[in-house]
């Protein structure tokens, strides 16, 4: 028993070291901008940079629209599949996994060919259109995470019986989705939303190839031209991701608890 515990702790220690040592090294390096002493100069430079503020603001806005689009797309689809089309579930799961298999660069080249200024749907002819296309692309990239989060949330409630209970009480589809289904999977939806946020904030390929001023290309630009600031940005990006994960954990405590079948 004691030997088993020793190996478990050793494995955990190696894993933690593999994860934390580069992170600590990056943090330490980001604090060494001023010669001889630790300082937050790199962070001051980064946070004071107008391009940082603009690109970060742009990506946050894109993330919000992506989350809204993802929820509008995924919640009704996952709900309907669980309610009426359960036989289609494996097919839909496969489709939602495709963005993990097909590289973002392939998707974005497809977009450029399909939605160029000479196409019937010329999204890329204007900056606004390109922004819309970028959000659609982000929603595609986030689909595996959003769909799984929502589907897992739906699996914790009896979708069919709750729907029928609401229907027999006079509710229509809008009421059922907004007042019965969505509140009961809200934490799952928020989990999907935070994962989407984390993906969008760090995404480089699509934003770069569609030439949009997002946070990902800014990170790359800084990394190629500066020494200490990219390390500070990497730590900031980690903090944002971890913040999102912590919020998911925190919110999951407030999820509606499923009632036991019989007590």
């Amino acid at each position: 028993m004691k030997s088993g515990r020793f190996w478990a702790w050793l494995t955990f220690g190696i894993g933690a070291a593999y994860f934390f040592i580069p992170l600590i090294a990056t943090l330490e390096f980001s604090l060494r901008m001023r010669r001889g002493v630790y300082s937050l100069d790199a962070y001051q430079v980064v946070l004071g940079d107008v391009r940082f503020q603009e690109s970060f603001g742009y990506s946050v806005l894109a993330a919000i629209f992506t989350i809204i689009l993802g929820i509008l797309l995924v919640v009704p689809a996952a709900y309907w599949i669980r309610l009426r089309l359960p036989h289609l579930r494996p097919i839909v799961e496969f489709i939602t996994l495709l963005p993990l298999v097909i590289p973002a660069i392939v998707i974005v080249f497809g977009y450029i060919r399909m939605y160029g200024s000479n196409s019937p749907l010329p999204f890329l002819a204007t900056a606004g259109g390109t922004n819309v296309l970028l959000v659609i692309g982000y929603a595609t990239l986030a689909l595996p995470y959003m769909y799984r989060a929502v589907d897992t949330g739906l699996s914790t409630i009896n979708v069919r019986t709750l729907t029928e209970a609401a229907q027999i009480l006079g509710a229509g589809w809008t009421t059922i989705i907004t007042r019965v289904i969505l509140p009961n999977v809200l934490i799952a939806v928020l989990s999907g939303a935070f994962l989407t946020f984390a993906i969008v904030i760090g995404e480089f390929t699509m934003a770069s190839l569609l030439n949009r001023p997002a946070f990902g290309p800014y990170l790359q630009l800084m990394g190629a031209n500066r020494a200490y600031e990219p390390a500070a940005l990497a730590i900031i990006a980690f903090a944002i991701t971890w913040g999102c994960m912590s919020l998911i954990q925190l919110l999951s405590r407030y999820a509606p608890k499923p009632a036991s079948y019989s007590r």
Binding site: A165, I168, L169, S260, S262
Partner: protein, 357 residues
């Protein structure tokens, strides 16, 4: 019957080639409590779901209060329903659950609050004590009572109960079924109750529709269903039944041979001729061990099994290839009969049911 409040007319439901309900008809009077009783897969829940609007009949019509609702959506029918799995909304408190239907109907908040308090009072879960609790904070019985209050709050025309007691423990089941019946009688609401539990159906129903293979085998009062089952299935499914095979030995005098003995069943043969085979059924309470006054038919056999059950003793008597079970009261003064003893049973020919397959 007065004008029926619920009329199910020649309803059929098929899924492709598979017909699960065939030519089902039933009329329920206003305020009547009708149970659909049958084994799993007999179509009882499908009929209930068609009345609720969750399934559309392949053929036939359903009228509620004189109005054809066959093609109406569930939310347009003004029907209340209680589900086996409670189906309370986990994100809403008890009071919010009960108010859900009222809110959907657009009732003013003050009126809705009053109605919620009234409904929670009816089910003995006072609003000040239980109103702000969530479903997971209630027991199964309490959850089902809230589900009943929620179903009744919008004053539905018809109440549908889909095996509402089957997830509860035995004691709660008995008390809740009595409570359901009492509330139903108080409100005078026409109710359809689906169950596979014969005791439940017999104890609280005005009438019972016994279903098998998608058909109503018999519709009648609990007394009729138990004492005058129309088919072999009904006789077997409702209550305990002893089934004996007999042969008509003399049709003119009504003599029927059962095992090694003979009984007289005049006026029971329904036109059977000498030599015809019959299936005879007897309830355990209609049989006595030994000769009893008023029970003129006697058959001899051998005791094959004796089970001591406390206040009663269940005795099985072999009659050739068949056997009958009967119960006798335990008496400390006389020991129970022994296995292998010769025994005579007696019954009244009037209590014999001649069954048709």
């Amino acid at each position: 019957m007065a004008d029926p409040f619920l009329s199910i007319q020649h309803v059929r439901k098929s899924y492709g080639q598979n017909t699960v309900v065939q030519d089902f008809s039933l009329d329920a009077a206003p305020g009547e409590f009708v149970s659909f009783l049958g084994p799993s897969g007999c179509g009882k829940t499908t009929v209930l779901r068609m009345v609720a609007g969750f399934e559309e009949p392949t053929a036939g019509a359903i009228h509620v209060g004189g109005k054809d609702v066959t093609r109406l959506k569930p939310n347009q029918r003004n029907v209340g329903m209680v589900f086996q799995a409670y189906a309370l909304f986990p994100n809403l408190t008890v009071a919010q659950n009960v108010a859900f239907g009222l809110k959907v109907a657009g009732m003013a908040k003050a009126d809705a609050d009053k109605r919620v308090a009234e409904m929670l009072g009816i089910i003995h879960l006072p609003i000040d004590q239980f109103g702000s609790r969530y479903p997971y904070q209630l027991s199964g019985g309490q959850q089902q009572r809230v589900a009943l209050a929620r179903a009744l709050a919008p004053s539905p025309k018809l109440l549908l109960l889909d095996e509402p007691l089957s997830a509860l423990d035995a004691k709660v089941r008995v008390s809740l079924r009595e409570e359901i019946r009492s509330i139903q009688q108080k409100l005078g609401i026409t109710t359809i109750f689906v169950t596979h539990d014969q005791e439940e159906a017999l104890s609280i129903s005005d009438r019972i529709a016994v279903m098998y293979g998608g058909r109503a085998e018999q519709v009648g009062t609990p007394f009729e269903i138990y004492n005058r089952p129309a088919t072999k299935f009904v006789a077997n499914f409702v209550g305990t039944l002893n089934v004996l095979r007999g042969t008509v030995s003399d049709a003119s005098s009504g003599k029927v041979r059962v095992g090694e003995g003979e009984v007289m069943l005049k006026n029971k043969l329904n036109g059977s001729k000498s030599g015809d085979s019959l299936t005879l059924a007897l309830r355990p309470e209609a049989i006595s061990l030994g000769r009893q006054p008023g029970r003129d038919a006697n058959l001899g056999g051998q005791i094959s099994e004796v089970s001591f059950l406390g206040s009663i003793i269940r005795v099985k008597v072999g009659l050739g290839t068949d056997a009958v079970s009967l119960d006798t009261f335990n008496s400390p003064a006389s020991p129970p009969p022994a296995v292998g003893e010769k025994a005579e049973i007696s019954f009244s020919p009037d209590d014999v049911l001649v069954l048709h397959d």
